[in-house]
Amino acid sequence: MAQARVKIAIVGAGPGGLSAAARAAETGTSHVLLEASKQLANTIFRYQKGKHVMAEPAVLPLRASVPFEAGTRERILAGWQDGVQRHGVNMRYGAEVTRIAGRQGDFTLALAGGDEVRAEAVVLAIGLQGNLRKLEVPGDELPYVQYQLDDPDEYHDETIVVVGAGDAAIENALALAGHNSVIVLNRRDEFARAKEGNLKGILRAIETQALECLYGASPAAIEALAPKDPSGHRLRFRIKTREGETEVLCDRIIGRLGALPPRKFVESCGIRFPSEDLSAVPAVSPRYESNVPGLYIIGALAGYPLIKQCINQGYEVVEFICGREVAPADEGLLRAKFARIPGLTGVDQAIEYIGRRLPLFAGLTPLQLREFLLDSEIRTPAPGELVVQYNDYTDTFFSILRGQVDIRLDPEDPANTVPLAAGKFFGEMSLISGRRRAATIAAGRDCVLIETPRRSMNKLIQSVESVRRAIDETFLVRAIKMQIAPEVPEDELIEVGHTASIRQFAPGEALFKEGEPGDSLHLIRSGSVTVAHEVGGREIVTAYLPSGNYVGELALLTDSPRTATVRAAVATETIRLHGTVFKVLMSVYPELEAKLKEKAQKRLRDSARTRGGGRASNMIEFLVEQGVGEATDVLLIDEALCVHCDNCEKACADTHDGTSLLDREAGPSFAHLHVPTSCRHCEHPHCMKDCPPDAIHRTPDGEVYIADNCIGCGNCQQNCPYGVIQMAVKGSPKKASLWQWLLFGRGEAPGTEVHCEEKSLAKKAVKCDMCKDQRGGPACVRACPTGAAIRVSPQDFMAMRR
């Protein structure tokens, strides 16, 4: 039976569909929301219980008739349910659309079961999750073969094969491995697509035999076993491996192979796909209209997978269909930002202008530029205002849109400057090396700057090749000028820069070895290296050099083979300068040669001293082995002074809500020097790598800390190679009174580890923040009664030991 025609039929009640329906209901537009399953937002409904759902991109404002902000799955679903009811959405569950026919103004949607719905316009908001990729082998639809996992705790003592190597497969496998015997089937030889935290998790699980992994294996066929099979299992899984076919008897097979656009159905509606690629999505107009007039596509099927984008598009598409103009949701934000640039009207004009004025971003599409500017801040500092300060640990990136800035060559002398003009950029040094700012930079007249956070800049560098290349080239020239040849004009260095190359070295890998011909000079751009000499068949480390230094000058100056072996202490990048080009430069600028010679001689003297020392050299080696090579500040305990009183731990617990963030006894020692388990505030903090709410930051003084918007996902804890991050309830437990305890023995002694009992609070990541909010510096160091504990920069410490 055909119903009366509605204005808009919305297919799929995911975030996009329900948002569209809510907007239609709110504006009194006749509509129907068709959902094949029995509930709203089926995909999110099937997330595991209590899962934290992100609201990315954070800066994008929400424009919708239903609420949405980051929170637990339950809260979000309840909010949507409530919104749909409040607006009186015309909802039909269990309504699977099998065919869409007709044209603009008169579409007919056929439902499974024979019903039909007629509409003037159709919004396809079906996403991809309704079309999960199957194993595509005989038996892939048998009972106990599934493509989703709602609650891993439902299964106990089963043998389960998880097929797939993505994040979903790994997360499922790890969750199941607690109570089941799990085998992971990976088509490839590694887990290349996985997030770093998941990758570490699965590799550790394989190593500790918590689960088994078959690499280079793919499914061949699945057969059901007889109900009372003597093996006690339910399925026989035939698997193709490189060695031939094998089989596994199991109880359950879970395929996690991702989802694909439901191409057949979409094409049957007359919609065209731009390519034959299985993962291709149909092209839509800026108003989300497909090539079929009146048929709109929003959300993941249109290539926008984020929940917030879907919700906004649901709202916008209804406005478009009803003939109302809406600007994109980020328009207001951008307009407010651009208001700071005098003489510009309109967002599109400003974006076009910025793209034109900054050659670095010439290769970006307007959409990429838009996203980039949304993350950035426009700054108009007063003339003379300091934009970055020498030795600070800030790591943002600046582009000069108008005016100029003055780089202070000598941090002490404000008059000694060189200008940097509009169209150029700065801040790339700290971004790449992770070290302190190399210079103080002050604003000039009429200066307009774009300041971009590290995370957005790194994303851009990784995704846009032209940006990466431009930044690398500039970094190269500036680094050479700053560290080696300040007297050479930048233009001449550009030539040198062209012959230079960026080299990457794994920890322990040699940049060059003693005795090799010396044909180049390495400028360390990130990471650090050790310099070693061969003595009695053994490499004796004589020096440690962090980024900003250069190595290999001696062989160039004397035309002799390498006198030392230089190895990367941690993952390191260097700029390799070609020897012949450099020699030409030295012949033109004799002062450059003189300076290099002077430095080389000093190094020779130093290394001779260390080589005789033995112990200092072993100390450097030990510290480098402990990963101190990437630390900016490390807690070191002198065991000749430590009386094991644990006052450091007590002080830490007392000043950090009852949780000690350091473990004094754990960690290695060498010749009375102990490196306890405590944060080292790495140059490129591993913990920052995959923080969904971007909660880990660095203060200008260098402390890496976790802000309150931590969601407790635990990624940083997994990513930290030094085990210094813990998960704890961040409440303020009631502190016992010192006098009560001292005089009457009431309550816990000060510094006792106490944990907040508040059940309603979720666990968050906690780590050493160097007591940045305390007067007087780290409490552990202040509380040590014997002077055994110090916090130092490893560079200073090793320099002192030489």
Partner: protein, 311 residues
């Protein structure tokens, strides 16, 4: 870069304390009171006030070191001052007394001052002497690791003994049950003399037996009667038995490995015991130092109040 509390700021507080002592001695030497020197002269009162202030401030250290937040000074600087000014207290209070001692509360306060300072100096000795010794003894292991390894060695010993003979299993089991770490305070501090001598004898015996087993494996026939005669532990006796009953090379090899394990375990137990001993010694003096300080504060209060009654 590490700066010990002993040499803090180039012995600044030592110099300060010595200066204070020199000043007090000089004043005492120049002072010519009508009566013999005593606490009642102007110098006596001055020294007494300085002494009382010092005692109050020294005792405050117990509070300061437990106040972890909101300080900008180092506890190690406080400890440095605490040690040296505490030493100076002996000079100040002695001069304050004018060497007039008797059986009264005033002399009690004076005596308690000495006891507190002496226990403190013992503490200083432990803080200087033991940390290095403790580190050397641990050899890079934590105490938990030592105990875990002892347990692991015990397990291996039992497994191996099981394959030697029923008797061996019994003997090893008994030895495991008799292994004691820690114990009462005095044992922690000084060790149990009886156990120490038994342990020494056992170590010697073990060495001897092992040598003989090795000789036997190398087909140099040892004097078995000597093994049997040696006044030795059950394990040694057992070894003798195994060898004398013409055991095959496999069994002999097992016994040799068992002895290796037992020797390693013994060494580790001794190290763990020494570790406990060091730790106990680093802490024990505080159990005298702190209560004596409390006693001193009480006696000092009575001393001050009663002195005012003389007026």
């Amino acid at each position: 870069m590490h700066e010990s509390f002993v040499s803090y700021r180039n012995f600044f507080y030592l110099k300060l304390a010595l200066g204070l002592c020199a000043l007090a001695i000089l004043a005492y030497a120049l002072h010519q009171p009508v009566d013999p020197p005593n606490g009642g002269t102007w110098l006596g009162y001055t020294l007494g006030t300085i002494g009382a202030a010092l005692i109050g401030w020294l005792a405050w250290f117990g509070v300061r070191k437990r106040r972890y937040g909101g300080n900008t000074t180092l506890v190690s600087a406080w400890l440095s001052a605490h040690v040296y000014l505490g030493g100076a207290l002996l000079v100040v209070t002695t001069l304050h007394s004018g060497f007039q001692l008797g059986w009264n509360v005033h002399t009690l306060a004076y005596a308690l001052t000495w006891l507190v300072v002496v226990t403190g100096f013992y503490g200083l000795y432990t803080y200087v002497a033991y940390p290095s010794a403790m580190t050397a003894n641990r050899g890079g292991m934590t105490r938990e690791q030592m105990i875990a390894e002892i347990a692991e060695l015990d397990r291996e010993c039992l497994q191996l003994a099981d394959r030697v003979s029923q008797e061996a299993h019994q003997v090893v089991l008994r030895s495991i049950e008799e292994t004691v770490l820690g114990g009462p305070v005095l044992e922690q501090l000084f060790g149990d003399p009886a156990r120490r001598s038994a342990s020494q004898k056992l170590s010697q015996g073990l060495d001897e037996v092992r040598r003989k087993i090795e000789a036997r494996i190398a087909r140099e026939v040892p004097d078995l009667s000597e093994v049997r005669d040696t006044e030795m532990t059950a394990i040694g006796f057992l070894a003798g038995q195994v060898m004398s009953d013409g055991a095959g090379p496999e069994r002999l090899e097992r016994v040799r490995r068992l002895f290796d394990l037992i020797t390693r375990k013994r060494a580790l137990v001794e190290r763990a015991q020494r570790d406990i001993q060091y730790q106990a010694r680093l802490q024990c003096w505080l159990y005298a130092h702190v209560p004596l300080t409390v006693g001193l504060l009480v006696a000092l209060s009575i001393h001050i109040v009663s002195v005012f009654f003389y007026w």
